[in-house]
Symmetry: C2
Subunit: 299 residues, 2 copies
């Protein structure tokens, strides 16, 4: 059965039945807007991500995982700011010849991840489109003293990542777990100076921190947790969609972190230095070379 | 010059320079999330709308008006709930062979409407896509006693619309002014029982109110403000994208409304009746016929 059999409102009805919301939601899907209770004392986080068939996924990928990814990339952004995700709206662009069962499975993956991370899906939009397009806008909250941005890295900081890098294209980009739990632990127990999620590539995203923090960095090749799926070092340095967190903290705080049982698997991969030193990679042979913070670009 | 010459980050840089935000924004575009100060005592409204090339606009349309429409449709949703728009994030899907000047003009139209309605553009996403796709997610606020939903219409209520209906496809769908000023006046000075913006068509959107309010309605053909651009009555009844507000209020409140100088041009077009009476149209010949709340559907 194709989507044009049940129509736009038929699809919306199917979605609405599958969704439950919590007490923070005054009115969920089904009116002109969702209505939410105000957030007190915390900052509100707001982010959006669009994924497109043929760019971020293909029709051969498991539809559940496609829906999952549509939300996971935004949850990862909330994690990178130290927050907790709360409410989302989702826009679907759907080709006319799409089967209802495909959309059902995309929705199933998205709603299932939403439940896992206690995200209320409170609205959306459905449009005809030449390819499948899913845009997720996500709200989150963060205590004022837990907010972490890209601009706080200081010379001397140690740089960590939360997991392995490279080779995400072989599957992780569809299955990764957004690092909310890890981020919340970090911001509650330690003083994190800067944080970002690695979506464009390790060096590109480190580059964003360096730019915003007006700093330089040194990365040690020998310390990099290169994934088994990565095609060598360059893949770990430059390929996108790892969705691990990269964060920096003072040497004192880093020592505390390394003592914590839960987080001892986190890898220090380098350190923040003065801006004039730029971005350097120290090879296994101990030679240093300048590298550029390039990564995945859409154009 | 095509977008792939300046790249994703080049585009983002151009956008960021064109955007100013107010004191409610702790951190705008340029981090993983936008960071907003909390809203006190008011409800928060949240909505999204996706517009797609070839469906909601064509490449022959003025790009400024395309960008304007992308935001205007969401502002209209905030108006329909009685609120004021505040913060938006915008996702762009852009074909590789798109010129930078096209995107600049789309952005110009969008940002210009944002300034007009004091909407802070606080983030976004850019992706390659087979056609131009723009998804806008908009936050707004509304005082708790000003919130209007679709579910409050009562038998006896008079139904009004804020302007002419039909023929929007000839241009209004790209140029309409979201009825924020009108909605705010209404919710502050009168007791509005139900409200919706007419995006799917008069009868379809009235149908949404009737469904949510468990009510019926009678519409008087002679009272309908049919636009000059409309191709007759059916166009005014069924065609979408008028983006006028339809609202209902008690006869007593309606009398007050009709006395108000500012709003005397608003047209009563019918009344809410018991659910069992269904939806009826009274013709100019005074005959009544049953009509169906059908309208524009994407599939």
């Amino acid at each position: 059965m194709l989507v044009d059999k049940i129509g736009e409102f038929g699809l919306i009805e199917r979605f609405r039945k599958a969704i439950k919301t919590d007490a923070s939601v005054v009115k969920a899907s089904g009116d002109d807007c969702a209505v939410l209770k105000p957030v007190k004392d915390k900052y509100q986080l707001f982010t959006c991500d669009m994924i497109v068939e043929g760019v971020d996924f293909t029709l051969k990928d498991n539809p559940c995982l496609v829906g999952r990814k549509a939300l996971a990339v935004s949850i990862s952004d909330i994690a990178a700011c130290g927050g907790t995700p709360s409410h989302a709206v989702v826009s679907f662009g759907i080709p006319k010849n799409t089967s209802v069962s495909y959309i059902d499975r995309v929705a199933k993956g998205l709603f299932s991840l939403a439940r896992e991370f206690k995200v209320n899906i409170v609205g959306g939009d459905i449009s005809v489109a030449p390819k499948v397009v899913i845009d997720t806008s996500l709200l989150g909250v963060v205590e004022k003293d837990c907010l972490v941005l890209r601009n706080g890295a200081k010379a001397g900081d140690i740089i960590f990542v939360t997991g392995q890098l490279g080779g995400s294209i072989t599957g992780k980009h569809l299955k990764f777990t957004p690092r909310i739990k890890e981020a919340r632990y970090l911001v509650k127990h330690l003083k994190i100076n800067a944080m970002i999620d690695i979506s464009d590539g390790l060096l590109a995203d480190l580059g964003h921190i360096l730019q915003e923090s007006r700093a330089g960095a040194v990365i040690y090749e020998a310390m990099l947790p290169v994934s088994r799926q990565a095609k060598g070092l360059n893949d770990a340095l430059y390929s996108g969609e790892d969705f691990e967190l990269l964060f920096t903290l003072s040497p004192l705080e880093a020592k505390k972190l390394l003592k914590k049982e839960l987080l001892r698997f986190y890898k220090p991969i380098g350190k923040i230095v003065e801006k004039r030193s730029g971005l350097k990679l120290i090879g296994r042979d101990n030679r240093e070379r300048n590298v550029r913070p390039k990564g995945y670009q859409h154009f």
